[in-house]
């Protein structure tokens, strides 16, 4: 529990801007994510056969184009940081014990970084025509 001794004293500037940057990031990334995610949903769930058309060949077809590689990588980074920071807000609001609060926030950022690294490795080192015994799963242009 934080007690503020003199609530009306002028605020100190010391590192006061970190929360402001987080606040600003939520709004800026939110606007970009609207474009990225609505575009993602439109192409993957609305066009053609929607969810029924999604398989390895579909993803390979998209990521053979650098445009979608950049799109999806940017979406991955922004969505994970936006989501993790949102969860941090909830943790800060609802956790009552300082130790648990710190543990939860540390876990959130650990997962966030791991998934960003994993996802970025996947989108940047992706091979649309890998060696596989299941040749049927590959897109047409590999055959």
């Amino acid at each position: 529990m934080v007690t503020i001794e003199t609530p009306r004293s002028p605020r100190t500037r010391k590192s006061a801007n970190r929360e402001k940057w987080a606040w600003l990031f939520m709004r800026a990334s939110g606007v970009v994510l609207i474009v990225l995610i609505f575009g993602h949903l439109f192409v993957n769930l609305f066009l053609g056969e929607g969810i029924k058309a999604i398989d390895f060949a579909f993803v390979a077809g998209k990521w053979a184009n650098p445009f979608w590689q950049v799109w999806d990588t940017l979406m991955l980074w922004l969505a994970l940081i936006h989501g993790t920071n949102g969860m941090r807000t909830l943790v800060n609001d609802y956790s009552e014990r300082e130790g648990i609060r710190k543990f939860l926030n540390a876990s959130l950022w650990t997962v966030c970084i791991l998934l960003i690294v994993l996802g970025t490795l996947v989108t940047t080192t992706f091979d649309p025509c890998p060696d596989t015994s299941v040749v049927d799963a590959l897109p047409q242009f590999c055959k």
Partner: protein, 130 residues
């Protein structure tokens, strides 16, 4: 008629409910994002394994859950715009209640355009022992 204070700060109006919904939809989307990053990572491991896992997304139950996901995203995205307008637009706070209903209306409109098409995709050709 004034009612007795009930010892809570929650006001029970659109301002509060939009805030509650924003949190609930945000958490739901966050956990889906974790799963979705992992399932997509399978494309790097094995095409057949990816196809097997992504097939669950095409089943009726998960297909219906996807409607819920899209509804959550629609609300969270549009209400996010409302929040930005409240923060940056001079008249934002004045119109926050109206904007809440515009958010709900737009979300329902877009959802109505998406849902029939998605349901048709999910239920049109169920896998019949391929």
């Amino acid at each position: 008629m004034p009612t007795k204070p009930t010892g809570t700060l929650y006001r029970g109006k659109t301002g509060m409910w939009s805030w509650v919904l924003h949190r609930i939809t945000g958490v739901a989307i966050f956990f889906f994002l974790l799963v979705h990053t992992l399932d997509t990572a399978l494309v790097r491991l094995d095409p057949a394994a990816y196809n097997e896992v992504i097939a669950t997304y095409k089943t009726p139950i998960i297909g219906l859950a996807e409607l819920g996901l899209v509804a959550a995203i629609l609300f969270h995205a549009l209400n996010g715009v409302r929040i930005i307008l409240i923060d940056f637009w001079r008249k934002g706070t004045k119109y926050q209640n109206l904007m809440f209903w515009i958010v709900i209306g737009l979300a329902i409109l877009i959802f109505a355009g998406f849902a029939p098409r998605h349901l048709a995709n999910v239920f049109s050709h169920l896998p019949v022992g391929k």
